[in-house]
């Protein structure tokens, strides 16, 4: 029990590896596998052909059946290895299959047809990445436009979010005025409102304001985030008031104090909010789907989702689409992960 407790309390060990260190590493490695493994598996699967996807047990890497060109046959024929019977061990090509029998030929001697029961053979497979899954996707759409729409919405919404939220947070943390606390509580209370339940009224409002079918319809409703105000306010509370007073002595305007002093000092919290905002806007799905009805204003997730019919789910495309949407986020995270994780940690605790 004591040792277990040491595992829990030790801050930075004492040189030698004892079992608590081993346990920690084991936990972390298993955890990492659990966190990243499914994503890697998804990415690998997205390169499989539709027939590869329904293989069970699934292969780790994408494969396809080998086909060879045989003289006198117009199309390449699929290859099988024969497991039983007279031709066991041979590799034959299938001409056609009727019921339980297949007519096959030896690619080296294509004149003589050979009859083989279909359960006496296995497919000859080779590694093959079905880039078609991606090719088809990108071809189906005006990819550049959707990417631009997504980038535009994400960037503009994030900039506006940072500006408006920081202004509000500045007032809520550095001023005393009648109604300040109710305003703050009101904003916080909306954290409780799942966005789903105000979807329809919101659409009606957007329609009245003429915001449907254009990117601003996604941007405006999203920019006044309560989380952002909360996060920035908590951070700004920790900035010493003396700095502001000193600036006021120098006859700086309140606006100047806000953007010359408070904003630069709040950089860590702003960075965190920026990351959140990018993440939210990039991944947003339900609201854009409702408010953007025309294909030229679709964002990436909407466009990639658009081939789903009523009656079909095509996993090969669905997987490829999933990978396409998560790649940008992953790349940005890989580049900035230290800043992101440290930033969130430092801002979240305040």
């Amino acid at each position: 029990m004591d040792r277990l407790a040491r595992l829990l309390t030790a801050t930075r060990g004492r040189g030698r590896m004892d079992w608590t260190d081993w346990a920690s590493y084991l936990y972390l490695v298993l955890g990492t596998l659990l966190m990243l493994g499914p994503v890697v598996w998804l990415a690998l699967s997205s390169l499989k052909s539709p027939s590869g996807l329904i293989e069970f047990p699934p292969t780790l890497l994408p494969q396809e059946q080998v086909r060879v060109a045989v003289p006198t046959y117009p199309a390449p024929l699929p290859l099988y290895r024969i497991t039983e019977g007279d031709h066991a061990g041979q590799t034959l090509a299938e001409v056609r299959k009727i019921g339980l029998q297949a007519t096959m030929v030896d690619p080296a001697a294509p004149e003589t047809p050979i009859r083989v029961p279909i359960d006496a053979r296995t497919k000859v497979m080779r590694l093959h990445a079905a880039w078609d899954n991606y090719g088809d996707l990108l071809q189906k759409f005006d990819f550049g436009r959707y990417l631009w729409n997504s980038v535009f919405i994400t960037t503009v919404a994030t900039l506006i979010t940072l500006l408006l939220n920081s202004m509000a947070a500045f007032a809520l943390s550095k001023y005393r005025f009648a109604g300040r606390d109710p305003v703050f509580l009101l904003m916080l209370a909306t954290l409780m409102i799942p966005p789903t339940i105000i979807l329809v009224p919101n659409y009606l409002i957007a329609a009245v304001l003429g915001l449907t079918d254009n990117p601003w319809g996604v941007i405006w409703p999203a920019v006044a985030t309560p989380t952002g105000v909360f996060l920035l306010r908590q951070y700004m509370l920790t900035l010493p008031d003396d700095l502001l007073e000193a600036a006021r002595m120098d006859n700086a305007s309140e606006w100047r104090i806000y953007w010359r002093i408070v904003l630069p000092l709040s950089k860590p919290a702003l960075a965190v909010l920026a990351i959140f905002s990018v993440m939210w806007r990039w991944n947003e799905f339900l609201w854009p789907m409702v408010v953007l009805g025309r294909s030229e204003s679709f964002t990436l997730p909407l466009a990639l989702n658009s081939f789903q019919g009523e009656l079909t789910t095509q996993w090969n495309y669905l997987l490829a689409m999933t990978v396409v949407t998560l790649v940008p986020v992953t790349v940005i995270f890989a580049l900035l992960q230290r800043h992101i994780t440290q930033g969130i940690a430092s801002a979240g605790v305040k």
Binding site: D2, A5, L7, L8, T11, T20, S24, Y25, Y27, L28, G31, M35, P38, W41, L42, E55, F56, P57, M167, A168, A171, L172, Y175, F177, R180, V183, L188, A189, T190, M192, I193, P194, I197, I198, L199, V200, P201, N202, I205, W220, P221, A224, P226, S253, W255, Y258, W282, N283, L286, L319, T325, L326, V329, Q337, R338, I340, I344, A345, S346, V349
Partner: protein, 333 residues
């Protein structure tokens, strides 16, 4: 070179834009009483809030009192409290089948179960992970990033990833078969589907809470531990007497945020199980969504009424917690 020029240009542009409100603000400063100035800063944010959050909530209140299937509020007949009455009509609240709106009560009890389990487990796992990461670990940055990575993924992507892993011919069952076990229909039995929704939502969110707790741990001054070491205090006691109390503010943040998020659970589960099997993973927001938005006959009044009930519960929960936080804050001075 080009980089510096570009960044200088961006800096100028930024300064020019940010200088624009200078004059009007100065004017306002001269002419407004001090108390009003705050409103100028809060104003824009608040206005957008009013239009896209408060106004829809008010419309929702109106919806809740109306019936029919028309989406335009002006064309809906007023029915008073009928929607609430039908939601609450029940012989035995613990037996959803005895209620008029059985799905609503399934959703409520499922949500209660889900929240209790998910928040408790997530807190436990985040805490353990944070404690482990707080040790002197090689590659700490990498591990921290790995645990955080799922937080960045959209709920739809999260659900698709796990759907793909858990499907009947998925990789998890392949591993089971490889180990000589029978494949399991993970999302087919009520219990295991429920368990997976809990697991997946923890998987997706725990990285965020781990970071908060980790920051809390790192903020504990090292000299306190050193003093404890001098007294040769047993580690368990150190953990209970020093670590845990000093970590309490962070734990509270995790609890509040985690609870709010758990009650609102929707997207991941919607894509992962669609609320099934039966209604085993139908949670409240999904019920609202189904009733008002995806059903063929959209009973928007009913959905709005359920939303208001949910919002009411959430509000009470938060007030309790705010009070708790305030009590904590004042005791620390």
């Amino acid at each position: 070179m080009i980089g510096t020029i570009a960044s200088q240009a961006a800096g100028r542009l930024y300064a020019a834009v940010m200088n624009l409100p200078e004059r009007p603000m100065r004017w306002a400063q001269g002419h407004l009483p001090d108390g009003r100035l705050g409103w100028l800063f809060v104003g824009p944010n608040l206005a957008i809030f009013a239009v896209f959050t408060f106004l829809p909530i008010i419309v929702d209140f109106y919806y809740a009192g109306t019936g029919g299937t028309n989406l335009l509020p002006t064309e809906r007949p007023w029915v008073g409290l009928e929607n609430f009455a039908s939601l609450l009509a029940c012989k035995d609240y613990f037996e959803p089948n005895s209620c008029v709106r059985d799905q609503f009560w399934y959703a409520i009890w499922n949500t209660v179960k889900f929240v209790a389990l998910q928040v408790a487990l997530m807190l436990a796992f985040s805490l353990v992970t944070a404690l482990v990461l707080n040790r002197k670990i090689i590659g700490r940055g990498f591990f921290r990033a790995a645990f955080f990575y799922p937080v960045l993924l959209s709920p739809v992507v999260v659900a698709l990833i796990w759907k793909w892993v858990l499907q009947r011919d998925g990789v998890l069952n392949a591993a089971f078969v490889g180990a000589g076990l029978q494949p399991v229909e993970w999302l087919l039995s009520a219990r295991s589907a429920f368990g997976w929704t809990v697991f997946v939502s923890i998987w997706a969110h725990m990285g965020f809470y781990t970071l908060i707790l980790l920051a809390g741990l790192q903020a504990i001054p090292a000299d306190i531990y050193e003093a404890a070491a001098m007294d040769a205090a047993p580690p368990l006691r150190v953990f209970r007497r020093i670590t845990l109390p000093l970590l309490m503010p962070s734990v509270l943040v995790v609890l509040v945020l985690g609870l709010i998020r758990a009650v609102q659970i929707f997207d991941e589960v919607y894509v992962l199980t669609g609320g099934g099997p039966g209604s085993a993973t139908t949670y409240l927001v999904e019920f609202i969504y189904n009733t008002g938005f995806s059903a063929q006959v959209r009973q928007y009044g009913l959905a709005a009424a359920a939303s208001l009930l949910l919002a009411g519960v959430l509000l009470v929960l938060t007030l309790i917690q705010l009070r708790g936080m305030r009590a904590k804050g004042s005791s620390r001075g």
